[in-house]
Symmetry: C2
Subunit: 203 residues, 2 copies
DNA sequence: ACCTGAACACCGTTCAAGT
DNA sequence: ACCTGAACACCGTTCAAGT
């Protein structure tokens, strides 16, 4: 059902193709250094390309981010499916959240773009973000069904907490404690042992 | 020990005084609407004042924010002291955190400025932010001494979590769940009942 | 089909010139 | 002592003109 927008992406002219790839390569390092709000003008300059060329290939900043993040997110989607079948529901949820928070941190400020994309259905990032949220919701409800995750949170809450944790990781001063704070926050997603439904396999 | 920078703040010339107050009044509503990164040019324009006048009264954006937030923060400091003497340590911590998160949300994006201020000792906001963090640390260690708060977190962690929760509140899409997520995250600060040190007054 | 760069409307910040 | 606004160096975005 989800399909790349252009069913038959006719090959680009050779010079266009080269510009496109160069732009992406430069963008990858620039966004890694400066964050998701890096100067587009600077990007065009560093890629040795006119401003119009940048806008032709990536009509919005989100289109650019979308391309930068697609590989990352395809991988995260695959991991969600793996965890779903290979791990206990609660472990699967924690492992995937860890990956997602790490993924949201490769580019500083990217969670901000994700939030905006979720609110705007026409955004180039919308579909991928919604898919992420849905994958998280699935892992969550699996853990809830098992009785390990608290039932008063949903997929949106989960996404909010991921954003909050990514916010922490985006700040150099807090980064040393980011992993620990991940554990602290994630621990709150699960019900206390005492209230836990009995399960066949005690861990 | 903490004292306003100018021990004897000589009275301003009448016109300067008027500009200063007008600037503050306009800034209050503008920053409330647009967030902490509102356009300074726009502010000067709306206050009917030259750009240089704005910069004369508030040499940096942080100086402006500092003035806007000082009243708010003086109040929060007082509340910390009240809670400290009037409530059980864990209740005091939770109540104060709730106030702080609410306070950090009056202006969108203000936690970002707080983070920057804590990292930069010369910032106009530094002292007030550090004082906030210290007040939180005090309330935390009180709850830790009592045995209700987990001991593997410190004042910086607390501040990080406040920032994370404020981040959630800054996003309209998440705001409906902000209060609930506050409860979820804050619950993780306390040790599980089973591990809790016995206390004279069971609640 | 694709590229370029000038043009437009915005920023933040500084500072010479005015009163 | 205080104010003003032009000037400078940046943005993002659009679009006429070129190949």
């Amino acid at each position: 059902m989800v399909r790349p927008p252009k069913a038959a992406p006719r090959p680009m002219r050779a010079d266009a193709q080269k510009n496109y790839e160069n732009l992406l390569a430069v963008a990858r390092t620039l966004v890694a250094q400066q964050g998701a709000d890096a100067s587009l003008r600077d990007l065009a300059r560093k890629a040795g390309v006119g401003l119009g060329t940048l806008y032709r290939h990536f009509p919005t900043r989100e289109a650019l981010l979308e391309t930068l993040l697609r590989a990352e997110w395809d991988e995260l989607g695959a991991k969600a499916r793996t965890f779903e079948t290979a791990s206990a529901p609660d472990d699967a949820l924690v492992s995937w959240l860890r990956e997602l928070v790490a993924g949201a941190r490769i580019y500083r400020g990217v969670v901000e773009s994700m939030m905006a994309a979720l609110a705007d259905k026409k955004s180039a990032l919308h579909a991928s973000c919604a898919a992420m949220r849905a994958a998280g919701a699935r892992l969550l409800s699996r853990a809830q069904a098992e009785g390990t995750a608290r039932t008063d949170i949903d997929g949106t809450d989960l996404f909010a907490l991921v954003g909050a944790l990514a916010w922490i990781g985006d700040h150099a001063a807090l980064e040393p404690r980011a992993e620990h704070l991940f554990d602290v926050v994630v621990s709150s997603l699960f019900v206390r042992d005492a209230e836990r439904v009995r399960r066949k396999q005690p861990r």
